[in-house]
Every structure is written in C-alpha cells, then in structure tokens.
Amino acid sequence: MGQTFASTGPVGHRKRMRSRVARYGPMGLADYEILEMLLFPGVPRRDTKPLAKALINTFGSLSGVLGASPQELRATGVSAASVGLLTLIPDIAQKLGAPEEAERADIGEWSRLLAYCQNNFATAPLGQMRVLFLDVRNQLLADEAVPEYGAGVSASTKGATRLDAPPLALGPAVGALLHRALGHNASALITVRLVENGVSCAQALQTDTPFVQELLKAAPLLALEVYDHVCLKGKQWLSFRGSGLGEW
C-alpha cells in the first residue's frame, strides 16, 4: 500500500506555506510566520522559524524587526540577503501610506472631450470605434478600440480593426464592451466612431444607430451611463444625443 506522506520530515514546508498564502492570503498568518517566510529567499534550505522567533524576541515584535537597522539585523545573525529584503519593507510601507494621486484627464465637458479626440485619434485607423470609460467624476479611466461587430458591417471596413475571430453579433458585442466597463470600474462611457473616407458623419450615425440603441438599453441595467455616441470626421462631429436618432 502506498504511503500518504513521501517523507515524515519537514520536506515541502516552504512550498506548503507558499500555497497557503497563494490560496488564503497572508492575513491568517501569525507575525512570526510572516517573518519566517520573508526569510526564505535569503536562507536557502534551513528552517527559518527559530530565527524568526529569535528576532521577534530580540526586537519585541514583527514591526520592531522590520524597523531595525541593517547593522542590528546582521548582529542578530540575519544573512545579508535577508537584510536586503527586510530593510526594503519600511520604505514600501511608507509608499503605501502616502500614495501619489495619478492625474486623470477630465473629459466632462464637451470641449475637453473634443480636444481629447483631436489629440489622440489623429493617427487611429478610420472606421474604428473607440470607447472612453469615465469614472464618477468624468475623468478618463481608459480609452480602447471596440472590436468590429456583427452582420451589416459594410464592405468598406478596410480601415476598421481586423480580428482573427469572426465579429460578434450586436448583443454580445455590447456585452463585451460593458464587460470592459465593469472591469475598469467605470461609471460612464462615451463611444466615438472615427468616420472613414467616403462616408459622411450623418451616414455613420445612421449605421451605428442599432448598436447605440442596444447600448442605451443595456448600460443602465449595470449602473453605467452612456453619455453619448459621437461620429468624428476631421474637425466635424455629430452627436447621437443631439441628433434625435434615438431616445435619450
């Protein structure tokens, strides 16, 4: 009969502890276990539990150990490699305690939205649809190209994005877009069609109407607001909201 444990020694202890953290997170570990694991990379094979406990005895607490100087740690028998990792932690704690706020583009106003489009879509392929995801303060979270969707895609889509897979039907395409919105934790979105040559803004708006209407129906169900759909052609633009093409 095969044995349950290949060895009754401490083999695989480090792997087990890593699996534990990978599965359940680090919150359940005792302070000395956190320290024990932080000592693994700098101590190739030995059991680091005794050292971890001795360090906490010497410095009073996990916090005390992490706040100790490199010299103090070395004097207690900690390897240079381990000292390297331990002494980084107070600096990281400091960064976590005072994060920098990233500047996000504010496109809450029409003029700013247009400026953003002019600045960023000049070299984007014509025919493409972009989606701008906004947070609760109308700041830009993400700007993505929307994959071309379903039946009725016109022959002149050579400027549009190419997919290896066949394009999604309308419903699933809207679903995929809203899925991205949720992933970005967006509050609202604006879609922008970069109108291709040979097509007018009005024509593009007409073609896009079924998509936008589907989007308008689905988005509120997920607490997402669709601010507008804009067809952009050079310096010309046409807004779905202002055109009376659908219910707003």
Partner: protein, 241 residues
C-alpha cells in the same frame, strides 16, 4: 491584547477578468502613460524588491515595466489583488505570493504604530494606515475602527464593500459588533474611489443613523473618516458629529 486584524467579507474580487481585446490596436494605450507616472525611485525600489525575492529572476526590468503599466505605481503593484498579480506573474507564482506578504507586512507595521497608546492621537499615522489598507481600492469599502474607552484599537473590520459610488452599511450590525468587542468608541471609515473625499448627503445621514443607534447602547461614534485622492476628511472636524 489579541492582534487587531481586519477581515474581508469575501474573497478579493475587485479585479474582473475581461474579454481580451488583444487583436485591436491600442492606439492611445493609457498603460504606457501610467507606467511613465511611476518615478525612478519607485522603479528602483520595485526592481530591488523583486530581485530580493527572486535573485535568479532574469527579466526583472521587463517585469517592473509590465507591473507598473498594469498597476500605475509601486503602491498599486504591492496592493494589487492576487488575481491581478497572477494574471501577469502566473498562477501561484512566488513573486505574487511575496508581493502579498510584503503588503501585509507593511500593513502590520502601520497597524502596530496605531496600537501604541491612543489610536486617534497621531492623525498622520492613522491616514498612513488607512491609505495602506484602502488607498488602492476601486470600489467603496466601509470599515469600522472599534476602540475602547481609552481610544485603544480593539479591532479594525471591513463591514461592507460596495460599488464605485456606494457601499452598504447596517447600523444594527455595526452596533452589534461593537457590543461583542466591548468597544466604546467607533470610528467609521470609508473611501471614495473617485478621489474626492467630500462627504455626500447620504454619508452624513448614515453617520447620524449609526451614531443614534450606538447612543442607545451608550456607545459613541467618535468620527467618520473619508479617504480619497490622497486626502482625508474627518466629519468630526467638519462639525458633523
């Protein structure tokens, strides 16, 4: 005194796996701009950290760039939830496990400083702790700091997680928990992922409801703190309590 530890109501699910729009050209890839925001010292610190964890790792610089591109800053990388880290580093990857360990070690450092004497005495330290635990959250989270009569921290618990602009909290459950912990003072805390920590009317209303419920039991809601955009607003200081 036992360790005051926060617990999460549910497994970390703030990062949603998304359909991969990989085939489309990302023209104004915000990820590039985000990684540019990280300062040189942050890059160096992150590189040193990764190297200290995995000295044999060869592609450190590339890893630093992809982590910063995804999470925006060193704080973002270290606070990233498991699923997000594993998406870049691989499932169960040693680096992912250790970033979580380092995050928790940093949290414990800040927590230990809060537990020296009165939790409310050092505003800066309280802010540092709250930023460490909530600063990178994309959704609203409500926590309660349960304090004893001498303002010593008994526990810090997440009572509710919500959505981008709202989180549920039940006055009854907060008070019930306070009774179990023998707390006397409560400090409510929540974050505004929008970056604006100003209290909404709903925030103020909820504060009063919990304060009234607590008062029935002779307990006191000492403050309600809102963090957002690197700032902290105290409803007590603003005169709402």
């Amino acid at each position: 005194m036992a360790d005051a530890s926060g617990y999460k109501l549910e497994p970390d699910s703030t990062v949603l796996p998304m359909p991969a729009w990989q085939k489309t050209a990302a023209f104004s890839s915000l990820s590039v701009e985000r990684s540019l925001l990280a300062t040189v010292p942050e890059r160096v610190l992150l590189a040193r950290l990764l190297l200290a964890i995995a000295p044999k790792e060869k592609a450190i610089d590339a890893l630093v760039e992809s982590l910063l591109a995804q999470f925006g800053s060193l704080a973002g990388v270290v606070s990233a939830p498991k699923h997000a880290l594993e998406a870049i580093l691989g499932e169960g990857a040693v680096l992912s496990v250790y970033l979580q360990l380092v995050n928790d070690a940093a949290r414990r450092m800040h927590l230990a400083r809060l537990q020296v004497g009165s939790t409310l005495a050092d505003r800066a330290q309280l802010m540092a702790y709250l930023h460490t635990v909530m600063g990178q959250e994309a959704i609203e989270q409500v926590r309660v700091l349960f304090l004893d009569k001498k303002h010593h921290l008994l526990a810090d618990e997440v009572t509710g997680r919500g959505t981008i602009d709202h989180a549920p909290v039940y006055p009854r459950e907060v008070v019930r928990r306070a009774l179990v912990l023998h707390a006397h003072y409560l400090v409510l805390v929540h974050n505004h992922p929008s970056g604006d920590p100003s209290p909404s009317a709903a925030d103020i209303d909820m504060t009063h409801r919990i304060a009234q419920a607590a008062k029935v039991m002779g307990l006191c809601v000492w403050d309600h703190i809102i963090i957002g955009g690197g700032r902290m607003v105290s409803l007590r200081e603003e005169g709402f309590l």
